[in-house]
Symmetry: C2
Subunit: 197 residues, 2 copies
DNA sequence: TCTTAATAGTTGACCAGTCATCTTTAATTG
DNA sequence: CAATTAAAGATGACTGGTCAACTATTAAGA
């Protein structure tokens, strides 16, 4: 039963990612979430203390696959970490595009909607972004040592630019209904600015 | 009477900017908006057709002062448009910081929350972002001709990077409760990457 | 039998939006 | 000019519906 409960809990989080990403926090009801997991609405609070709690956990649940995917790419190209980063983002752009330019990134959406109003979500967002950012930071340092990424700019600064302008590009994608902003992000940074002279 | 109504309408939009920016679309009620303007709730619909309509108009109302401010800076430094851009963003960072890292940018927040679900807001966002982006694009072209901004990169690409990473930096500011991401944005792009060799 | 977990129904509050009623202004008439 | 009427505008109570959260009840397991 412990396992069964954890499976359902996981199911809650997976459905939560989808609902919160496409509709946002305030536009998604607890009832709707429970219905999506085919669990009675009354049971929601036996899995989570509150909707806010649930959202914070969903944020943490969301970022994990992205971290694992990027790690996989880095491990698969141990001698060309820049290529790993490029492959990762290429894959990401295709995946995001398949969703019909809807949703974007749960982290970005939640940062905008509740990042400064919900303390629980703020903490979850802060740690998720930092974990994700650090991974890219270390990848950039590796690539610098490999000579593919320029060494006259700090990996710190480049990692921040990478994370921030990706978020901005996703917002642009949403309103322009095109992956073009994402493609341009890729070309500008990973295809040009970061490249070793 | 025409004037009086238009004044109140303007008041609605100004209060709307504040409420929608700090709380978001779905977390802000029509009742709350009407209360803020000290107008009976029932009267809201004599000023606007719907909440969605109101939000779309608020978006347009929001961006205008920013465009005017940037234009002012550009006109005040006709021979150094890069300096105008830098001054503008310096001023912006101070202003945003004074709000206690809350809110951020209405455009960014609304793009994330309703940019892909409300057609009315989508249109308003699209045109607001484009107007704002174009202004910076033309400023960058001017600065390129003045020799202060590098000419081996397109102003188009730089304008997009400017707009996108500013949005991302604002999201980071929200969750880190610090203007540091904004400052780094400034140093990275306007203080380094865009500068003529 | 006793304990623990699941859940259906309910809670008061609030949502966007409507509408009948009331107030104010304008026009018309004596 | 005053009185009456008609039109226009303002407004608060109300609509059906949904919200997050609680709780009394039922079911299950030991």
């Amino acid at each position: 039963m412990i396992t069964n409960k954890q499976i359902k809990r996981n199911n809650f989080l997976t459905q939560g990612v989808h609902l919160l990403m496409t509709q946002g926090y305030h536009a998604t009801g607890v009832n709707e979430i429970a219905k999506a997991v085919q669990v009675p609405k009354g049971s929601f609070y036996s899995y989570f203390n509150s909707k806010e709690d649930f959202a914070a956990e969903t944020i943490t649940h969301y970022i994990e696959p992205f971290i694992q995917l990027l790690k996989k790419h880095i491990e698969q190209s141990p001698h060309d970490t820049l290529a790993a980063l490029k492959n990762y983002y290429e894959e990401l752009i295709i995946t995001v595009g398949k969703n019909g330019y809807k949703g974007g990134c749960l982290l970005g959406n939640m940062m905008g909607e509740v990042g400064d109003t919900s303390e629980l979500c703020n903490q979850a967002l802060k740690s998720a972004v930092e974990r994700y950012r650090l991974l890219q930071y270390h990848a950039l340092i590796k690539a610098q040592k490999q000579g593919t990424v320029r060494q006259d700019r700090s990996a710190e600064m480049m990692a921040n630019l990478l994370v921030n302008s990706w978020q901005g590009a996703l917002l642009r994608m949403k309103i322009e209904k095109s992956v073009q902003p994402l493609q341009e992000f890729y070309d500008t940074l990973l295809g040009d600015y970061f490249i070793s002279a």
